[in-house]
């Protein structure tokens, strides 16, 4: 069969076209396959050493949604270290977070945002990597690990409220005599007889310390007594925020005594925030103003013995009270009377007869009885080898 030249040309063109299409499709297939391989290698294939390693990410429970936990398990050798990197999904720009020992059970990444989804890359030596699934931290409404604390707080506050209600309703609560407090009037009386001022130091801590707040209540009562005896009172203060509260307490004390005109703003003096500068200043006041009664109530630290020793050397009657147990020995040794620990808080309730303070004191006594029962039960359980009960009280 003869083929015309025109037909041959058309056939050749068709053949070329068919070949081009085939080549093109083959090229596209090959290119797609290469792209697939690159994508797979980047995101799904891990190195042989980490191929058997499983990386899991999870939200850290019982938190405010700012941390994620990473856990890995698998074929890892002792001495290996892992570089953990993080990226904000879907971004793949990883930035290193930490380098940890591969033998660790996991790592907690903190300081995250609840609004961001994260993806992690764990990299071993030689650039071998494994990627995590995208994950977001979430906040927990309730910290279940602190349920025991919540129960204790709830019980305590309920009992405080009940006792405050009872005290406010006129129920008389007995508070045992605290010997240091009875001595306070005696000390102020002596200062009056000698014509010298009374020194009241409310500790060196700020208002965030409950001892300072208790001290302010006692200061009000001491100021009332000094005003009724017309004896000057000097209150050196270490923290600026305590100054206005101390001024209010002294002013109120003078008003309660019916002698507001005796109040002198210079009674309350800010000296210095620095512990030993303050101590040096108080020592100077003791020596130069010759205070006859020194009352130290509040939170004291290393300056306690310096103050008490200087006061002792001047022959003043000294009464101290603090809940800082490491300083109590110095006050016990160098002062005439000492309020030990919680007696400081009880003193404020005893003096003021304020329903809120009395109610709190009574609730604290109830709490002490409960604690004693719990301690005894815990010791019996521990003696019998039952540790679960004590574990309930492990602080988390």
């Amino acid at each position: 069969m003869a083929i015309s030249p025109a037909c041959a040309r058309v056939s050749l063109r068709c053949l070329r076209t068919a070949c081009g299409v085939r080549q093109l499709s083959r090229f596209l297939l090959s290119f797609g396959f290469v792209l697939f391989l690159i994508w797979f290698a980047l995101f799904h294939v891990t190195s042989p050493a980490l191929a058997s390693v499983v990386l899991e990410t999870a939200d850290r429970p019982d938190d405010d949604g700012t941390a994620l936990r990473l856990m890995w398990r698998g074929d890892l050798a002792e001495g290996d270290s892992l570089v953990i990197s993080r990226a904000a999904y879907p971004d793949t720009a990883f930035s290193p977070v930490a380098t940890v020992d591969a033998m660790r059970a996991g790592y907690t990444d903190q300081g995250l945002s609840r609004k961001i989804t994260y993806v992690y890359k764990v990299e071993a030596a030689g650039g071998r990597t494994v990627l995590s699934e995208p994950v977001s931290p979430s906040a927990s409404f309730l910290n279940t690990s602190r349920l025991v604390m919540l129960a204790i707080l709830a019980l305590y506050f309920i009992s405080v409220l009940i006792y405050i209600k009872l005290a406010a309703g006129g129920r008389e609560f007995f508070v045992r005599r605290i010997s240091g407090l009875n001595a306070m009037e005696e000390a102020i009386g002596r200062a009056t007889e000698m014509g010298r001022p009374v020194l009241y130091v409310p500790g060196i801590d700020d208002l965030n310390n409950i001892q300072t707040i208790a001290s302010m209540v006692i200061l009000g009562d001491v100021a009332r007594m000094t005003a009724s005896y017309e004896t000057p009172i000097v209150v050196p203060v270490c923290k600026p925020f305590v100054v206005p509260v101390a001024e209010e307490a002294v002013k109120q004390g003078f008003m309660n005594a019916g002698r507001p005109e005796l109040y002198n703003p210079d009674n309350v003096r800010y000296l210095s925030d620095e512990q030993f500068a303050f101590t040096a200043g108080v020592n100077g006041i003791m020596l130069r103003e010759k205070t006859a009664a020194n009352i130290y109530m509040g939170s004291f630290f290393a300056e306690s013995l310096i103050l008490a020793e200087t006061g002792f050397s001047t022959g003043a009657i000294q009464i101290a009270g603090t809940a800082n147990i490491h300083q109590l020995p110095f006050f016990v040794a160098a002062c005439d009377y000492a309020l030990i620990g919680e007696e400081l808080y009880a003193a404020s309730a005893y003096l003021s007869k304020e329903p809120k303070l009395l109610g709190t004191l009574k609730a604290s006594d109830v709490a002490k009885v409960i604690i004693m029962v719990l301690l005894t039960a815990g010791c019996i359980a521990e003696s019998l080898g039952l540790t679960a009960f004590a574990e309930l009280f492990t602080a988390r």
């Binding site: 604390m149 620095e274 020995p329 002490k368």
Partner: protein
């Protein structure tokens, strides 16, 4: 007597250092520090103008230092800079900082008697937030931790076996102490708690138990006293070392 000996020793060392020319190496700052240290030490003799001078410098400098410290470390990074930033970016959450800023300003109302009462709002906010924050820390760090730490077996494990093994030997006394350790901790804690019970007069049985609690307290205070005095002596040694090493150059 001790203080006179101490002062005498310091003076003798100074004379020695001056005579031997060792003081020439001390810097101006070291000289100032050494002089102020000696001025404070002079209180051991009695109150005197030199001590008074050092005391006033100490108080004035520290007050000024703390103002600068609070301004640069608290006010500027925690309030001023974030506030300016939130104004710049018009961030409503950042503008919440205006609340503490206003409360801080209200504290200055104390300087104006007519509106002095306004400062009580700031004080109330401060004391309330401090108390709320402190209670969790105290409960978790102190109360719960101490309750847990004191839930121990009445007899420490192996103590009786140890006692039997040590019978007649040199370690017998320590084995007895080991047996007594846990009961003493538990009993001591319970009777001390009884001492801090304020709702009943401490008479009769309660009084007897609370007296035992006071003994436990006093014994622990004695131990604590001795331990702390040791640490205070180390502070004194540190200061004397500064004088003799940095200043006088007598020891290296």
């Amino acid at each position: 007597m001790t203080k006179y000996i101490l002062i005498g020793v310091v003076i003798a060392l100074m004379v020695f250092a001056v005579a031997s020319g060792r003081l020439s190496g001390a810097s101006f700052g070291t000289w100032i520090a050494a002089m102020l240290t000696l001025a404070i030490f002079s209180f051991l003799y009695k109150d005197n103008p030199i001590y008074k001078f050092a005391e006033h410098i100490f108080i004035g400098l520290s007050a000024g230092y703390f103002v600068a410290l609070e301004y640069w470390n608290v006010f500027v990074p925690n309030l001023w800079n974030p506030l300016l930033e939130s104004f710049r970016t018009v961030s409503p959450s950042g503008l919440m900082l205006l609340v503490p800023f206003a409360l801080g300003l209200l504290l200055f109302a104390r300087f104006f008697p007519k509106i002095a009462w306004l400062s009580r709002w700031s004080m109330a906010a401060m004391i309330g937030s401090y108390a709320g924050l402190a209670i969790i820390g105290a409960l978790q760090g102190d109360l719960l931790a101490q309750i847990r730490a004191n839930m121990i077996p009445f007899l420490s494990p192996g103590s009786l076996t140890g006692l039997k093994a040590a019978a007649g030997g040199n370690a017998f006394f320590f084995a007895i102490l080991e047996v007594l350790r846990n009961p003493l901790i538990v009993i001591g804690l319970l009777v001390t708690l009884v001492y801090f019970f304020f709702s009943r007069e401490h008479k009769g049985g309660l009084g007897a138990v609370s007296r035992v609690g006071v003994w436990f307290l006093m014994i622990s205070f004695g131990a604590s006293f001795g331990y702390t005095v040791m640490s205070r002596v180390s502070l004194l040694i540190g200061r004397l070392h500064f004088l003799m090493s940095d200043w006088l150059g007598i020891i290296h």
